[in-house]
Structure formats: structure tokens, C-alpha cells
């Protein structure tokens, strides 16, 4: 498979995530769109790692082919930590203003 097909797919998924952040007002949906963008980048990293596995540099070393997949693990680690804290913040916001509409979070405006 051509690398361009994977780049196009990842860009499309990323863009859908961006559009979701722009058109929704529900804080949880916006958060889920961020997760979708992270996943698009993960997919692209794995695709690049498999592209790199065919190169001569990678064939000389045993572990070079899996470096990008380790990066994906760390992205997943950071995403899991981010979700736990982010959802705690959303729950706290819901407890204070009794809505998850992001338009209510404009107290810093004036």
C-alpha cells in the first residue's frame, strides 16, 4: 500500500476531529474529538514505522523498526492520563454550573 493512502486517511480523520471540536458545544464530545485526533496521529506513526522498516537503515538494526510503535505507546499513556484528569475537570464543571455547555465557561471574558 502506498504511504500516501495512509497519510490521506489520517489527515481525513484528523480533520473530522477538528470539525467536531469546532461545531459542537458539548464538552464531552469535544474531548472525544481530541481523542480521535490523537488516534489519527497514532495510525500515521505506525504507518511511517512500517514504511521505515523497508529502508536500509532499519535493516541494519534490530530495533529500529519498532521505535515509532514505542512512541505510540507513550501517546496512549499520555492520553489515558489526560482523560482521567480531563473527565474529573468536566465532572467538577458540571457540579458547579449544572451544564456541560462550553459556552457557559466565559467568566474570564470581562
Amino acid at each position: 500500500m502506498d504511504i500516501k493512502a495512509y497519510i490521506a486517511l489520517s489527515v481525513a480523520l484528523f480533520t473530522i476531529g477538528v470539525i467536531g471540536v469546532l461545531i459542537r458545544r458539548n464538552a464531552i464530545i469535544i474531548f472525544m474529538c481530541v481523542e480521535l485526533m490523537l488516534n489519527a496521529v497514532n495510525l500515521l506513526l505506525v504507518a511511517f514505522s512500517k514504511m521505515h522498516a523497508l529502508s536500509n537503515v532499519a535493516k541494519a538494526s534490530a530495533t529500529f523498526a519498532s521505535d515509532a510503535q514505542i512512541f505510540v505507546f507513550f501517546i496512549m499513556v499520555v492520553a489515558a492520563a489526560e482523560v482521567s484528569v480531563g473527565l474529573a475537570i468536566i465532572v467538577m464543571m458540571y457540579r458547579n454550573v449544572h451544564t456541560i455547555d462550553v459556552n457557559f465557561l466565559n467568566r474570564l471574558k470581562n
Binding site: 469546532l22 459542537r24 464530545i29 474531548f31 521505535d67 514505542i70
Partner: protein, 171 residues
């Protein structure tokens, strides 16, 4: 057109269609379920790229743990299509147009790129548990340990933020 291409197209259509359904569906519970389908499609892509361990981890961590957390919060707040805040139509249109412009710009840039690299599919041992474990515990031990500290701080942070009368106590 061989079977790999057909599976690739099938999984891509599944991922993109579910992602579009996710951002357009009214009910937050439906959005969560559509996002789980997206994650399963991406896991299928990982299997197609012979990154099997990553596929399993993606299903366990994302579809299993993170989405259950989202679903739990959605059900805790009792959100449904009636309580869903709707952005006004003009702002939605602006969002879609600007997102599509981003897509268009990157796709046009991609079009002018003249690389002929191909991706290795269904073969290669870079994604197997043995190779990944060797890489992780030989070259990336320090980041691995630091990530455990990150998890600990995230856990403490979530507990502190979620504590019941934090704001009332401050007053």
C-alpha cells in the same frame, strides 16, 4: 485489486463514516458508541500493518478503558439528545468550511509530494511483543519509568479535582 487493498478500503470507509456519525449524532451516548467503532477500525488497520500488540492495546486501552470512562460520565450526568446544546447554524457552517479548507490544503500539498514509498503490510516483526519489549526495556527505560510518575500524578490530580467540597472549603 488484491484482498489487502479491499480490506484497507473497507476499514477506511468504516473509520471515516463512523467518525462523521460521531460528530453529527445528537445523543452523546451514540457518539461514544460510534467512536468505539472508529477505534475498532483503527485496530483493524494496525493488524493489517502487522502491529498486533498495538492493535490489542488499542482495543483494551481505548475501546475498553477510556471509552467506558466516557460512557460512565455521560450516564452519570444523564445526558441525552434533549439536553444537548446546539451551536447556531452559521457557526457550524463556518466550522465545517474551515475544517474542509484544512483538509483541502493538506491533500493538495500531498498531491505535489513525489515520494514513491510503500508501507510494509502483513509482514515484518517490528510490531511483535518480543521486539517491542526489547526496544522498550533497552532503549526507552527512562521514559517508561517517567510515565509511571505521570500516571501517579494524574491519579492524584483526578482525586484532588474530583473531591467533593474543595470549592466550598476554600470560601
Amino acid at each position: 485489486m488484491n484482498i489487502t487493498t479491499i480490506i484497507f478500503i473497507l476499514l477506511s470507509v468504516m473509520a471515516l463514516g463512523s467518525a462523521i456519525m460521531m460528530i453529527t449524532s445528537k445523543s452523546p451516548v451514540h457518539s461514544v458508541l460510534w467512536l468505539i467503532i472508529v477505534f475498532f477500525a483503527i485496530s483493524g488497520h494496525y493488524i493489517l500493518l502487522n502491529a498486533q500488540f498495538l492493535a490489542i492495546v488499542n482495543i483494551i486501552v481505548y475501546a475498553g478503558a477510556i471509552m467506558v470512562l466516557f460512557l460512565f460520565v455521560v450516564m452519570l450526568m444523564n445526558l441525552n439528545a434533549e439536553t444537548e446544546p446546539i451551536k447556531n447554524y452559521r457557526l457550524q457552517l463556518v466550522g465545517v468550511v474551515s475544517g474542509c479548507s484544512l483538509l483541502l490544503i493538506i491533500i493538495m500539498a500531498l498531491n505535489r509530494l513525489d515520494v514513491e514509498n510503500v508501507v510494509e503490510m502483513k509482514v515484518g516483526d517490528g510490531g511483535l511483543i518480543k521486539v517491542l519489549g526489547m526496544t522498550l526495556f533497552k532503549n526507552y527505560v527512562l521514559p517508561f519509568e517517567i510515565s509511571s510518575v505521570l500516571f501517579l500524578s494524574a491519579m492524584i490530580g483526578a482525586v484532588v479535582i474530583g473531591k467533593k467540597d474543595m470549592i466550598a472549603d476554600k470560601k
